[in-house]
């Protein structure tokens, strides 16, 4: 299994606050990697470095290197819009646009300049099928996406992300705002997608990490404490901090 993302000696600051300290972690291709750790440990910050969403934050500063497909994504010649087409993101709160279901999924394609109606329709259908939402919405594609349930909205956001065929999908606590049944559907979906996409998922739900990921990274106070196969992290971690966290002794 080769690594698609290489994180080398990354320090990251929000103004004077050092949010990440010397992070070195390589993310395997076409597998699910989970980031766990208590709130404020830096796991979401690291995730947002991979598609440069932290560029939007004033006073953010990065030291070190992040390579995706061997390319330094913070290099000056990188066009950030192009990077984000390759590295998609699903957010914590479902955030479909206030547009129709169809328009939501077609959005990224239209951003890329796709105009052909048949092609758009095929790609939208394809993405919705991959996101296991097609059966539920095929009759109501013209309806507002905001009328869907929270779980459906989140799967729509995943479909929207899949439509532009990213290599990597970043998921920032994608199920934390959802009920257990919707959560189960999202997890099932992640398992269906993992052979085709590289998925990095931030989660507070440790059972979720066990269920969906093959590797898990534990972060604490801006540092990467331990990174290993998920079953090792949860059954036989090297570090006492990891053991305490995954057994619920703190966090």
């Amino acid at each position: 299994m080769s690594n698609i993302i290489e994180t080398q000696h990354v320090d990251f600051y929000y103004g004077n606050f050092k949010a990440l300290r010397n992070i070195n972690i390589d993310i395997p291709e076409k597998a699910v990697t989970a980031f766990i750790g208590p709130s404020g440990c830096g796991k979401s910050t690291l995730l947002r470095l991979y598609n440069r969403m932290n560029d939007l934050v004033d006073g953010a500063k990065l030291e070190g290197k992040i390579l995706i497909d061997g390319e330094d994504i913070y290099d000056k010649k990188i066009i950030v819009e192009e990077l984000r087409k390759k590295v998609g993101m699903v957010f914590q709160k479902p955030n479909p646009f206030p547009k129709s279901i169809f328009e939501n999924v077609a959005y990224g394609l239209k951003v890329q300049g796709m105009k052909n109606k048949t092609e758009l329709e095929n790609r939208v259908e394809d993405a919705l099928k991959k996101a296991a939402l097609w059966e539920e919405v095929q009759a109501v594609l013209d309806k507002s996406a905001l009328q869907l349930s929270g779980g459906q909205q989140q799967r729509l956001c995943i479909a929207r992300c899949l439509a532009i065929n990213p290599e990597i999908i970043l998921m920032d606590e994608p199920a934390s705002a959802l009920d257990p049944i919707s959560t189960a559907k999202i997890e099932e979906l992640i398992l269906q997608l993992k052979d085709r996409y590289t998925i990095v998922i931030v989660t507070h739900n440790m059972q979720q990490a066990v269920r969906v990921s093959s590797k898990t990274a534990f972060f604490y106070l801006g540092e990467l404490v331990e990174f290993n196969d998920t079953n090792i992290i949860f059954e036989n971690p090297e570090r006492i901090e990891t053991r305490n966290y995954v057994t619920g002794k703190f966090g």
Binding site: F97, Y107, V111
Partner: protein, 279 residues
């Protein structure tokens, strides 16, 4: 006194005051309708004024006001919306933004007669537009600008950042995001700003006094460099000067009623646009 009792009394006061406000509005409207409806007929809105404005209709004033509304909005709406976009989407929080906001707020509070004087100095005299629809429209447009800028800014601010982030994460540029996501979502509230400014523009007398308004001009304007009559000024003239003020009174009420109806129609049209856009 119990908390429940206190609450009852508080709501009673609030309700009474609300009813009072709405009531006053209806009294004003009713008063104008009752006094003005008698003179309104097809001739009144389709004919030129005659006999020292005591006979005939008020067509040139209606047309003049419509031109002024259209002209000022055509000038102020695009500039105002773009300024609002710049304020909210591009300008970062800091002294510059606070300064611009303070200035727009102050501009909104400047008495309209001052706008009138400024319009006369700049558009009529300096730029040599003369007393004209162009000068009047620009002056009224300046008056409407702060309202449009601020409502646009507030409308954009109300759009949740998660939409912006979702769009950026799809590889969309900032401009594309504003065009396709932010503006459409903010559109209904921007239209509210438009409605407010149409209301203001159509009723103002002072800014047009020295820039466009003609006392008596029984023909339609030929071009944007022509003078024109306008409803609010016509109303003022009818109420204060003329050969027979008592005889002019019903015509004044009729004119007021027409002005209100025009504003009402503009609002309805804006609401219609808002509804269509929402679909």
């Amino acid at each position: 006194m119990t908390a429940a009792k206190k609450q009852q009394i508080a709501f009673l006061i609030i309700r009474t005051l609300s009813i009072l406000v709405v009531g006053i509005l209806f009294v004003i409207l009713g008063f104008i309708i009752i006094r003005g409806i008698g003179v309104i007929n097809w001739d009144f809105i389709s004919k030129m004024p005659e006999e020292g404005m005591l006979e005939g209709g008020i067509l040139p004033a209606i047309i003049g006001t419509l031109y002024l509304i259209a002209g000022s909005i055509l000038f102020a709406f695009p500039i105002g919306v773009m300024s609002g976009i710049y304020m909210n989407e591009y300008l970062k929080d800091g002294p510059a933004k606070r300064f611009v906001r303070l200035m727009t707020d102050n501009l909104a509070g400047v008495p309209s007669i001052v706008f009138g004087l400024f319009g006369m100095a700049l558009f009529v005299n300096k730029l040599k537009f003369g007393d004209s629809l162009l000068a009047g429209s620009l002056t009224l447009g300046l008056l409407a600008l702060p309202v449009i800028i601020r409502t646009t800014e507030e409308a954009l601010k109300a759009i949740d950042d998660t939409y912006r982030h979702a769009s950026y994460a799809m590889g969309a540029s900032k401009l594309h995001t504003i065009k396709k996501i932010i503006l459409p979502a903010a559109f209904p509230n921007i239209i509210t700003g438009l409605i407010l400014s149409i209301g203001r523009v159509s009723g103002e007398t002072a800014p047009i006094l020295f820039t466009v308004a003609a006392y008596f001009l029984p023909r339609l304007p030929h071009s944007m460099f022509d003078q024109a009559m306008a409803l609010p000024y016509h109303l003022y003239v009818l109420a204060t000067s003329g050969t027979d003020i008592d005889k002019a009174r019903p015509i004044a009420y009729g004119t007021a009623l027409i002005l209100i109806i025009i504003v009402l129609i503009c609002n309805l049209m804006a609401n219609l646009i808002r509804k269509i856009q929402r679909k």
